[in-house]
């Protein structure tokens, strides 16, 4: 943790922490603007922008037509003018109509204009499942974005990180996609869907400074330390993996990547070289998922330190089902099976 502020600390859930980051950046920088579907008066369907229009006015926080293409294209244009737009895409599943403005435009402005134009925008979007959202409110499309050159990809797993990372993202001059794991907006989810939901207030990372602070992009966080296994994960799955490790007394490093791109390869390498075993966990579909990239990197860099094949625990390669959500979700059973396999010899 860096740039530790000395402002008073408050218990916040993830939504409140994100709201606080936006509030601070709107306050500090008149060039920051928030735009998106229902983000204005209503404050967003998940309340992430609640009261911000009231506080900063409609010029700074405003509703847009339902056109993701328009939202993202306009954000590129605003960035070209010199603003620092923070567009919200209501659900990550709805980013596809605007993909071209990210892939071909935002991601390449700096390169194709040799630095003449940049796209200093932070696209916030809720992603991931676990809320019975069906196939269009549950997807995890992060690997589309790490696969294109020129976009930084961030996924926080706690209120504390969400705030510090979002502030860093907004101040960053490159286009950033900031995925918010909506299942853990209100509490860290351990993967046991039939147990009562824990609120964030019981978690230390819900103690969030009220003021400005940053968490550097590209730095992972080792949330649990151990000797026998490295678990690389991010988002909701950080909590699922941590719970399994804790409940079963597994001697593992649990690495919360926080930033997928640029990746903190040092932390990964160091850990895998220490433990000799590597398990990669994400909720997204398996094939060509970010786990494939992680597995390749670990194989390239740590091959001679490995004592067992690299394992991946992921969502299945199907659309996200509604009724079979908990059969789809990579929960404790899938994790335990993989851990048993990797620790076998």
């Amino acid at each position: 943790m860096s740039d530790m502020p000395d402002s008073p600390v408050k218990t916040m859930n993830m939504i409140e922490a994100i709201n606080s980051a936006l509030d601070i950046m709107l306050e500090r920088d008149d060039d920051v603007v928030i735009l998106g579907e229902d983000v204005g008066y209503f404050g967003g369907v998940f309340r992430a922008t609640a009261h911000l229009q009231e506080k900063y006015g409609k010029r700074r926080v405003f509703d847009t037509p339902i056109s993701e293409n328009g939202i993202l294209g306009a954000a590129v244009g605003m960035g070209a003018y010199g603003l620092r737009p923070v567009p919200e895409i209501q659900f990550a599943d709805y980013i596809y109509p605007g993909l071209d403005q990210i892939v071909s435009e935002a991601a390449r402005l700096r390169y194709r204009s040799a630095g003449d134009f940049i796209a200093p925008m932070t696209i916030r979007t809720p992603f991931g499942g676990g809320i019975f959202g069906g196939q269009t409110h549950s997807q995890s499309p992060e690997s589309l974005f790490t696969h294109m050159s020129g976009v930084k990809t961030i996924i926080p797993a706690t209120p504390y990180d969400a705030k510090g990372l979002l502030i860093s993202a907004i101040e960053d001059n490159d286009p950033i996609i900031f995925f918010e794991p909506k299942r853990i907006y209100n509490g860290p989810f351990t993967g046991y869907y039939d147990r009562p939901v824990e609120p964030w207030s019981k978690h230390s990372a819900a103690q969030v400074p009220e003021g400005y602070y940053k968490i550097p992009l590209g730095k992972a966080d080792v949330v649990q330390e151990g000797e026998g296994l490295t678990i690389i994960t991010y988002g909701t799955m950080v909590h699922v993996a941590s719970a399994v490790v804790e409940e079963q007394g597994i001697d593992a490093d649990v690495i919360d990547l926080r930033t997928l791109l640029p990746l903190d390869i040092e932390t990964i390498e160091e850990s895998v070289k220490k433990t000799g075993r590597c398990l990669i966990v994400h909720e997204a579909t398996r094939t060509s998922g970010f786990g494939a990239e992680l597995a390749a990197l670990v194989a390239e860099r740590c091959f001679y330190h490995l004592e067992a094949p690299i394992e991946r625990v992921t969502g299945f390669d199907t659309p996200y089902p509604h009724s079979l959500e908990w059969a789809y979700f990579p929960g404790p059973v899938r994790l335990t099976t993989a851990i048993e396999k990797i620790m076998k010899d």
Binding site: V45, D63, I66, G133, G134, T136, H322, S323
Partner: protein
């Protein structure tokens, strides 16, 4: 480059549309200009779009606010058909109330009502041929009821239970039934628009007689897909009807956020050279007549029609929002075009083909039917923690034939099933609770 002295110009100003009323305000629609019945005429279906541009700002009406039908658009339907129409509207309203409540009782994850807008799906479904292909959004459940899709199947889908014909894969209300010429509903807005055009182009290419119709909300007209659809439809003169259900609100955004401050939604068709009309969406007879006109036009190779249904979303967007947090409470009560159910009822009573007693009896019969059907559906399971389907079904239909990697993942999920669920849970699941 023009030399300009900009010193004396006022500063630029960013316009952000704002609805007239917000929570706490008193809604007052007296400044809303609404044409009287009969003012907007009825041209021949063969008219060129250029000669009917005024209709994009007019308003097709048949029923006045007392329920009297008149004017050139009166479809002169038989009493029997009008009674069926009333019955359908009442039935979908009762169905919506019941399913909304079921969600509130925790029996499923999500629901969306079409209250106040029933006419915009029921009347078109009645005016179209049963085999005309519809590409709806999520608020046209009325079409299914008109086309005889079993209510029990709708409820099974809403509960994602073991009798759900969509195998629990879709969010509640995302129906699909090719048997009823009803395209599978997408959660992604307006994707159905260009698809409807493609279907219509295919029908024309095959020298078929069937046409296509599609629906979206006024908010959804902002999506690029809407505009792609318009372009393709006009270029290929596709036999398609575009319905824009302008219910004034898109979740918390009023129609001005979709461009409604500057032009009517029907007017979007003008630039594309598409016949564009506006209809009182709370007047079921007018909606019927407008659809009939457009359908005839499409079927006789006179091309696409865009219909804006001017209506009001009486309830929240879905079970996920509370409309009182973004709009004035009594807007619907003050909506000058009333309620489609009440207007059709008044019309029929005025014709002396209907009366209060029969109405009350019909309402009771429909409510009972809905309630009984709900009980049957719940015997097949409610959502709960889900998992009413065999795990294998999760991997089927991704492709026609299952590739090896899905086969492997399926085996993995079956193994998980055995270790994941205690006998007790399994029994409970099998009972479907």
């Amino acid at each position: 480059m023009k030399k300009q002295n900009k010193q004396n110009l006022p500063r630029l100003h960013l316009h952000i549309p704002e609805p007239q009323f917000r929570p706490g305000d008193t809604a007052d629609f007296s400044n809303l200009e609404i044409e009287d019945v009969g003012v907007t005429g009825r041209p021949e279906e063969t008219i060129a779009p250029i000669d009917m541009q005024h209709m994009a700002t007019g308003l097709i009406r048949v029923l006045d606010m007392e329920g009297k039908a008149s004017g050139p658009w009166d479809p002169k339907l038989s009493t029997d058909i009008k009674l069926k129409m009333l019955r359908h509207i009442m039935k979908v309203r009762s169905f919506d109330d019941r399913m909304f409540r079921a969600q509130r009782q925790g029996k499923t994850s999500f629901y969306m009502k079409c209250t106040g807008e029933e006419a915009t799906s029921i009347a078109p479904a009645m005016a179209l041929a049963a085999d005309d292909m519809v590409f709806p959004s999520y608020r046209q459940q009325g079409i299914l009821l008109v086309r005889g899709y079993p209510m029990l199947d709708m409820m099974n889908q809403i509960y994602s239970n073991r009798e759900d014909s969509l195998k629990g894969r879709q969010l509640p209300i995302m129906y699909s039934s090719s048997d009823h010429s009803f395209f599978t509903i997408s959660g992604n807005l307006t994707t159905q628009y260009p698809q409807a055009v493609g279907w219509a182009m295919a029908s024309a290419a095959k020298q078929d007689s069937r046409i296509a119709a599609t629906w979206c909300g006024e908010g959804s007209t902002a999506e690029g897909d809407f505009h792609s659809a318009m372009t393709f439809a006009t270029v290929y003169n596709a036999p398609v009807i575009f319905n824009i259900v302008n219910n004034q609100w898109a979740i918390s955004s009023f129609s001005g956020i979709a461009g409604g401050e500057r032009a009517t939604f029907a007017a979007r068709g003008l630039g594309y050279g598409i016949a564009s009309i506006r209809v009182d969406g709370n007047d079921p007879l007018a909606v019927y007549a407008a659809t009939e006109w457009a359908a005839h036009r499409a079927r006789t190779n006179n091309g696409p029609t865009l219909i804006e249904h001017f209506t009001y979303r009486a309830e929240g967007h879905s079970t996920s929002d509370d409309p009182s947090s973004y709009r004035a409470a009594e807007e619907y009560a003050k909506w000058p075009l009333g309620d489609p159910l009440e207007r059709l009822k008044a019309h029929l009573i005025g014709e002396a083909t209907w009366d209060e007693d029969r109405h009350v009896a019909l309402k009771k019969a429909l409510d009972d039917e809905v309630k009984t059907t709900q009980k049957l559906a719940e015997k097949n399971g409610i959502l709960g923690h889900g998992m009413h389907q065999e795990f294998e079904t999760m991997f089927e239909d991704v492709f026609e034939e299952m590739p090896w990697h899905l086969q492997e993942q399926m085996d993995m999920s079956l193994a998980e099933k055995i270790s994941k669920f205690s006998t007790k849970n399994k029994e409970k699941m099998e009972r479907g609770s």
